[in-house]
């Protein structure tokens, strides 16, 4: 046993460390041919000068991207696929957060809406998770990728019809899977509840989306793959592998199934939603501000260290559980190693927007993305600390973890997606957002709402965990003391939901043709008019 624990942890650690050394060596030899100048690729791929760029409120910035050779990077077919994904994602966000808020209220009003099985807490909560993870974040993240990959590669999207078909299949799978969960038909594993029959559809849909994106990467017109592209290409490979392996029915059982469960569930965050979010932030921050990121070479360390360490952190969800010590310890060690890629990304992203606070104040999309990036750093630091055995004993099994999950999936991923939507949709439609006051209202509702949400659950969860560890206190005390904090969470959640409505109304309005259009050049207003 001692041999197994010692050697395996050591081997994994040594290989990870060696790979990191090789990487640094390769960078120092310039084998990977990457220098600060490559950070300007995003400005060169598009025939448009760098400079402050906020199409959400300024009609002059809503021009659709034109490639170096004068090619329209987003012809009608690809535009349709992007808009479909963004529209569906927003629909799932609204429905998903209604369920989320219901689940939140049910935790302090336990007899509310209990007469019908689909509305019981265990189902409502699960429909919420699947809708926001696979409907909102996945469809929204892929929707942004469908826009960003052609834009950073300076060429139009290949196979746009296939991508649209993939999007349709994916969304049917989400709708079907969540309906199944509501009716009580579930695979029963956290993050993997959607019945495997719908998972097949989901996997085919994902594949139909991945193929066009890879084909587009193959036809790229730029000399360098910008960092956003690495994260996206990695994610496009990782997610289908993870999703298929974890969902094969009948393959996994018992405690071993729990290991697969958390290998998947944490990787769906680390190797899917995180790269979608970090990749988008790596493009949107410099593009809106109009200046390249701070230290481009460092982004290489950030990417590869994320791949190495994040892929092995999942078992920290089973600390103190029925899984061999060495596996748990391995995940704890890799969770702490996550500080490396997170700090690398932080150094690259934060000085950029912190040094351009006037842009930060002027642009709502930038504010969403910058705060999202900041909360990525915060969520990751918190996650590394929660994986430490001493802290895990307090926070595991409590609402503290729920707060942490939302810091990552909402504070980071969702805020970045909001910023991305506000930036991309006007450039797709050539119109600014019709009701900019709703966009500002959205920003304040969700940031204030989420602050209340997060602080409530973190304090309540921490006290809950301490009460649970105290043998002198009855278990019931650990539940009773959380009630005021759970109520606080419902208040924060209500504000967030109102924000989502503001967002959705604006999206419907701009899709319906409202909002000021960009003037054709000839008809531009003359000075003095």
């Amino acid at each position: 046993m001692v041999f197994t624990i010692g050697t395996l942890v050591l081997v994994s650690f040594a290989v990870s460390l060696m790979a990191l050394v090789v990487l640094i060596w390769a960078i120092s030899r310039s084998d990977l041919q990457l220098d600060q100048h490559d950070a300007d690729t995003i400005f060169e791929a598009e025939a448009r000068p760098a400079g402050f760029d906020d199409p959400s409120e300024r009609t002059e910035d809503t021009r659709s991207p034109i490639g170096i050779g004068g090619e329209d990077l987003h012809p009608a077919a690809s535009r349709q696929a992007v808009l479909f994904m963004l529209g569906m994602a927003t629909l799932w966000l609204v429905i998903g957060s209604v369920f989320g808020l219901m689940a939140s209220f049910k935790l302090h009003m336990p007899d509310w809406l209990n007469d019908w099985a689909p509305l019981t807490f265990g189902r409502v909560r699960t429909m919420h998770l699947n809708l926001v993870a696979y409907g909102w974040a996945t469809a929204g993240g892929v929707g942004l990728a469908l826009w960003l990959i052609p834009t950073i590669f300076g060429t139009h999207l290949r196979l746009p019809r296939l991508a649209l078909l993939g999007g349709v299949l994916l969304n049917i799978a989400v709708a079907g899977g969540v309906t199944a969960i509501g009716s009580g038909w579930t695979d029963g594993l956290e993050w993997l509840e959607i019945p495997w029959q719908f998972d097949i559809l989901f996997a085919i849909g994902a594949l139909c989306l991945v193929v066009p994106l890879l084909a587009t990467a193959r036809h790229r017109q730029v000399h360098h793959i910008y960092v956003t592209g690495w994260y996206y290409l990695g994610a496009m490979i990782w997610f289908p592998v993870l999703f298929v392996v974890a969902n094969i029915p009948g393959l996994h059982v018992g405690a071993q199934q729990a290991a697969v469960n958390w290998w998947f569930a944490h990787n769906v965050l680390g190797l899917w939603l995180t790269p979608l979010g970090v990749g988008a932030a790596y493009y949107l921050l410099p593009r809106i501000i109009g200046k390249p990121i701070y230290s481009y070479r460092l982004s290489l360390v950030g990417f590869w260290a994320l791949a190495l360490f994040y892929s092995q952190v999942g078992i920290h969800h089973l600390i103190g559980g029925p899984i061999p010590t060495w596996v748990v310890t391995l995940s704890v060690v890799q969770s702490v190693m996550m500080f490396i890629p997170v700090i690398a990304v932080a150094i690259n992203q934060h000085p950029l927007w912190m040094g351009n606070l006037s842009a930060f104040r002027a642009s709502v999309p930038l504010r969403f993305v910058a705060i999202g990036a900041l909360l990525y750093t915060a969520a990751s630091f918190q996650g590394s600390l929660e994986a430490l055995r001493s802290m895990n004993s307090v926070t595991h099994f409590t609402h503290y973890t729920v707060g942490h999950a939302h810091l990552g999936a909402y504070g980071f991923v969702s805020l970045v997606l909001f910023g991305g939507f506000y930036y991309v949709v006007p450039r797709l439609l050539g119109r600014v957002w019709p009701m900019s006051w709703l966009m500002h209202a959205h920003f304040w509702l969700v940031t204030v709402g989420f602050a209340i949400y997060f602080v409530s659950l973190s304090i309540g969860g921490w006290l809950q965990g301490q009460a649970m560890l105290d043998p002198a206190r009855d278990f019931l005390a650990s539940m009773e003391l959380t009630i005021p904090y759970l109520t606080g969470r419902s208040i924060g959640g209500t504000l967030m939901l109102l924000g989502h409505f503001a967002f959705a109304i604006n999206l419907v309005a701009i899709l319906a043709g409202r909002g000021a259009e960009r003037m054709p050049l000839a008809a531009a207003p003359q000075p003095g008019e």
Partner: protein
């Protein structure tokens, strides 16, 4: 980083590497362990009841994995000895859980073997614990004027009885769920004490030395 293929290959390799360590190696270790002598497969009613437990999402508030005394007072609370991987040999889907909004249930059958108590608690948890935030499950029960032969009556304090004097009886789903709950008993001696995370015990030993 100007080429996509090396990037994709390296990214795939890294994921495979992680899969070997987190999925394949633990699977080999856990599956080679024998099934404990005290552990029986679920019978037909328990299997149906377990499906109810899964379908209603009980796992989102109740764990099934008592922690070791070195880490937490789970055993002192009467939740049972620390569980090991062998205790779950017949569990699919696994129900280890990640939340303790309610208590751990791996040994609820040993702790609370009364079917009557379980039925009352499922019909209205607040009839037993006034501050409980567990959902009530009225749809697992039927209210009718009087009980028929073979009906299992739910015992309720006066304030939770139907006002018109009718009685509450358990539907088959409730009986199955309770059969599963009272069958949850893993108090037999641990078969493979090494097949669990003993990291806290090791840390404690390290301090003692």
């Amino acid at each position: 980083m100007n080429r996509a293929l090396p990037l994709i290959l390296l990214a795939t390799t890294i994921l495979v590497f992680a899969t070997v360590f987190l999925v394949i190696l633990p699977a080999g270790q856990i599956r080679s362990a024998a099934i404990p002598e005290g552990l029986e497969p679920y019978d037909a009613a328990e299997t149906r009841g377990r499906a109810q437990y899964v379908s209603l999402g009980c796992v989102y508030c109740h764990s099934q994995q008592p922690r070791a005394p070195e880490q937490a007072p789970d055993t002192a609370r009467g939740w049972g000895r620390p569980s090991t991987a062998s205790d779950y040999a017949f569990d699919s889907p696994h129900l280890l859980g990640t939340m303790r909004t309610g208590p751990d249930l791996l040994n609820i059958g040993a702790r609370m073997p009364s079917r009557a108590w379980q039925l009352t608690h499922l019909y209205q948890p607040r009839a037993i614990h006034p501050t409980s935030i567990m959902p009530s499950y009225p749809f697992l029960f039927e209210t009718k004027p009087e009980a028929a032969a073979g009906d299992v009556l739910v015992q309720l304090p006066p304030e939770y009885r139907p006002e018109d004097g009718s009685v509450v009886v358990a539907r088959p789903e409730a009986l199955d769920l309770v059969a599963y709950l009272v069958g949850l008993d893993r108090t037999y001696p641990a078969a493979t004490p090494d097949l669990r995370d003993n990291g806290y015990a090791e840390a404690r030993e390290g301090e003692a030395e």
